[in-house]
Symmetry: C2
């Protein structure tokens, strides 16, 4: 593998660990815990892993004298910067516990456990991946571990390799399933501990116990670098509006964080759109008003940040898509029809309100809503180019206002979508340190015989040496939600809180950012410079922890 000069230099970086973990530690048990809601149901579903205490590591003088432990590790779901550092922290921790401990990586996600595909992770392999982005060390996958048959199949290989513990690195769903697995193995007395690690660039796996999920910091910094570059261009050329869509289907944390970092003219937050029950036309009008205000003052340029999932949070679009899904299911008249007649056919058959919304959509998007369907017969929302939809509709509205004499500017739009550009970036110092600490902490939870816990590193807005390491019972973060028609125990997803400090900070400034040009240009992630450049956590995390930005 040919490596870049930065990779070579970066390989030597020793991630910062909480000071406490550099010493001999003992595990201190806190209060017994309860799930955030639906305590009775969750307890019934997790009789062996419910109600366990919070755990915290503290310094101790005696050497605990652990024996060697073989451990397996799985990367689950979408890539996030820092995954390799969780694994290297786990590896170093296990080797510190006992030099004969072994670490096995299951290949291409949870499927590797079921299909018995694995490699042993040796020092040589680990060293090649320290502080790098990507999940390519063992690959990742989206197979869901939900079925006892899978669990039993996995158990075979775990027994065969004499593995005593499994670390699952994933998002909210994967950690829920990790806990189901922990409960299953415990109930069965299988002798396999299961520990989770909080991963997702979306930032939606966090709560009182988990301050942030790893990867969010790096991904947002990459997107903010690009948004900043575009804003500098926009402010130099002074002739384009850039509509920038950012990854994040269900929560808008990424978009909000990028707005806090770059101060764009417009930033839409899905959670606000849903709460205020905004219509598509209201959103378009809001953007167009900002464009018009700036244009009437000679500033025919600007930036609009859009969360990927926006369209699903606009109530009227949701209703429209639901009716379309029903109406078009097995509709042979429609599918056999000349393509050019489909639009009129749809409009004439929808209920009046939905027909109106559908008719207001630009042709390309309207077609996408009726043509591209997933295997379940649903609209493929991820294919909808919301950034183009909004740019086009804003343009139409402005043309009308120009005719009415309300708008005198010029409007030309460019669109962008950033997602894959950030998921596998090399981790920022924050993510490199945080991930390494999460992995190292997981090894200590394993050594102490714990299962059904997530590795937890807190106090993360302080310098790394003051970070606090411990474990959180996964059941503590769960509630019951409807999934595919049935009630399931799941870790509560963290959406943007409209009364939270990050949104409030944005909300106070957005009018100024819209009218004036207040762009900030964060530039690329730095690894070697002064600490105020290289070691800062995300603005979201700082604000959530009561700090100022």
């Amino acid at each position: 593998m040919k490596t870049s000069s930065l990779q070579i230099a970066r390989a030597a970086y020793q991630p910062k660990l909480p000071k406490i973990l550099k010493n001999q530690v003992k595990l201190v048990e806190g209060e017994k815990t309860q799930s955030v809601a639906d305590q009775k149901e969750i307890e019934e579903l997790f009789p062996n892993t419910y109600g366990m205490p919070l755990l915290k590591f503290e310094e101790c003088s005696e050497n605990p004298n652990f024996s060697a432990i073989n451990t397996g590790v799985i990367l689950s779901g979408g890539q996030a910067p820092g995954g390799h550092n969780v694994i290297s922290g786990l590896f170093d921790g296990l080797k510190h516990i006992h030099k004969d401990s072994k670490l096995y990586g299951f290949l291409m996600g949870p499927g590797g456990l079921v299909d018995h595909k694995y490699i042993e992770l040796t020092t040589e392999i680990i060293d090649e991946y320290r502080n790098t982005g990507g999940f390519d060390i063992i690959g990742s996958g989206r197979t869901k571990l939900e079925d006892p048959a899978q669990f039993d199949k996995g158990l075979e290989i775990l027994k065969q390799l004499d593995i005593k513990a499994l670390v699952i690195i994933g998002g909210d769903d994967s950690n829920t399933n990790a806990c189901v697995l922990a409960e299953y193995y415990k109930a069965k007395n299988a002798g396999i501990q299961v520990i989770g690690c909080p991963k997702t660039i979306d930032g939606d796996l966090k709560n009182d116990m988990i301050e942030t999920s790893f990867g969010f910091d790096t991904a947002c910094k990459v997107y903010s670098e690009l948004i900043g570059n575009i804003q500098r261009d926009c402010n130099s050329a002074r002739k384009y509006w850039h509509f920038i869509k950012l990854m994040g289907r269900s929560a808008s944390h990424i978009t909000l964080e990028c707005a806090l970092q770059t101060q764009p003219n417009v930033c839409l937050i899905s959670e606000e759109v849903e709460t205020k029950q905004q219509s598509l036309d209201e959103i378009v009008t809001y953007i167009a008003e900002t464009v018009a205000h700036r244009g009437n003052h000679g500033n025919n340029f600007g930036t609009v940040l859009i969360p990927e999932g926006l369209i699903e949070f606009i109530p009227e679009m949701r209703v429209l898509m639901d009716e379309l899904n029903d109406f078009l299911a097995d509709n042979d008249d429609f599918s056999m029809m000349d393509k050019n007649k489909q639009r009129d056919y749809v409009i004439s058959h929808l209920s009046p309100k939905n027909a109106g919304v559908y008719a207001s959509l630009p042709e390309g998007v309207a077609r996408q809503l009726t043509l591209d369907r997933d295997p379940h017969g649903n609209v493929q929302v991820s294919l909808i180019e919301t950034e183009k939809l909004l740019a086009e509709m804003v343009g139409v509205k402005l043309q009308q206002w120009a005719k009415e004499g309300k708008y005198k500017g010029k409007f030309a739009a460019m669109t962008h979508f950033f997602g894959y550009e950030g998921r596998c970036a090399a981790p920022s110092n924050f993510d490199a340190d945080y991930c390494y600490s999460l992995g190292y902490t997981a090894s200590l939870l394993i050594a102490n015989g714990k299962t059904g816990y997530m590795s937890s590193v807190k106090n993360t807005t302080e310098p790394a040496e003051k970070w606090v390491a411990g474990g959180v019972p996964t059941t503590m973060m769960m509630n019951m939600e409807k999934r595919h028609g049935a009630m399931k125990p799941v870790i509560q997803k963290a959406l943007v809180k409209l009364d939270g400090a990050p949104f409030q900070t944005f909300s106070i400034h957005r009018e100024q950012w819209a009218k004036e040009t207040c762009y900030v240009y964060p530039g690329p992630i730095q690894y070697f410079g002064p600490t105020e450049v290289c070691d800062q956590p995300s603005k979201t995390l700082l604000l959530e922890q009561g700090k100022t930005i």
Copy 2:
């Protein structure tokens, strides 16, 4: 203006200057020069600025004792990283020459000179923009200075501000026009010197005298960071082909440089396509064969780099677009026709070969070729989403091969276009140093009374202190070319040379890169780390100067 922590830290960076410029220098004249072609015509057009000698600065012991000089500066055309450093180098040089020298910036490009829009650039303003990206210090624009009426209008304000010299920072066209202006003012004995500086991220303004244009290094490093991130994602998820289009309409230097930095599976070079007279189907087949080979070996992922201008370099597409432009000009039948009948109408009216090519195009692109036309009635090539066109056509071909049993893989494509993400990035150390040196050199050319020159800094693959500073007569780089129907003197555009070291290096490796997975992940531009990470010039420049990479 709120500035990011990186900007604050970066403001303190003192760009490296050639050692020679830190001392007292004298100007040494070399041989008289000739234009690269059409000597007779160029000499006739530039009687006062033709044939001047090459210039080089050398150390001298005596203090030249210059008087104060007021200078104007213009940013022309598209943004490129480092423009602010040319201006700060020029400013520092002028102040070094005499503390009472003043620098005026004309606003929003060459139009600012004609319209008398300017600001005085003070120490306070300059300090705010050192080492930053963008052209926002004075803005840029695309007004062409071609007409004596503009020159005379400009002269009014130059006289009024007692300006003795004008520095024009631009690409090949802008530098050509700068020389026309130099000639005009010299012929008129107006007492205004004009000096050019070589800017363009496209990298097509270079030759034996100008080793590289500024901005190319930074822009390519930003794009390569993103391509590397996508490749790491692609190699982790192992399920997508990413089709990535990169800025660069007429030359493919950016795409080639990014390929040398990241080692993608496929990279198309427009100059090769044109030289080999490749058809669209040949290109699609080449990509599809690579996808099929990888897919048949279980690797259903990869990357394809595509230069923005590709479509215009495919001979059959050029012929098709020419016929379409003629056929559709003032064609009322077509424009009044039901949109859904236009495609068949076009196919039935084109000449047989063009009809075949047109019929092979996906619907969206075919429509774009007939619908969106610029004010001159031509196809708007920049609107054609070549990356989607190729992804779709490759998909169709693979489906056919799958039916024939020749292909057993899975193909899913993602598309990206990177351009605006890199034009205004904060300059790399290379561009920061190179630009500052170009600006500083320009001030010395001015102090020495020169006009019709471009600022030149050579030996740029060595450490900055060994760089060589001087001036190149702009006429030396010119030849006669047909523009809008008339022969004009222009600076020869540097296209990718198929026998040059950068393309040859790529060409030797591409088969291996296609079949194996040889991705390199360059990561983001670093400013504070070890010199092998922070101070490397582009691979293209290294190879062109006979170095290895």
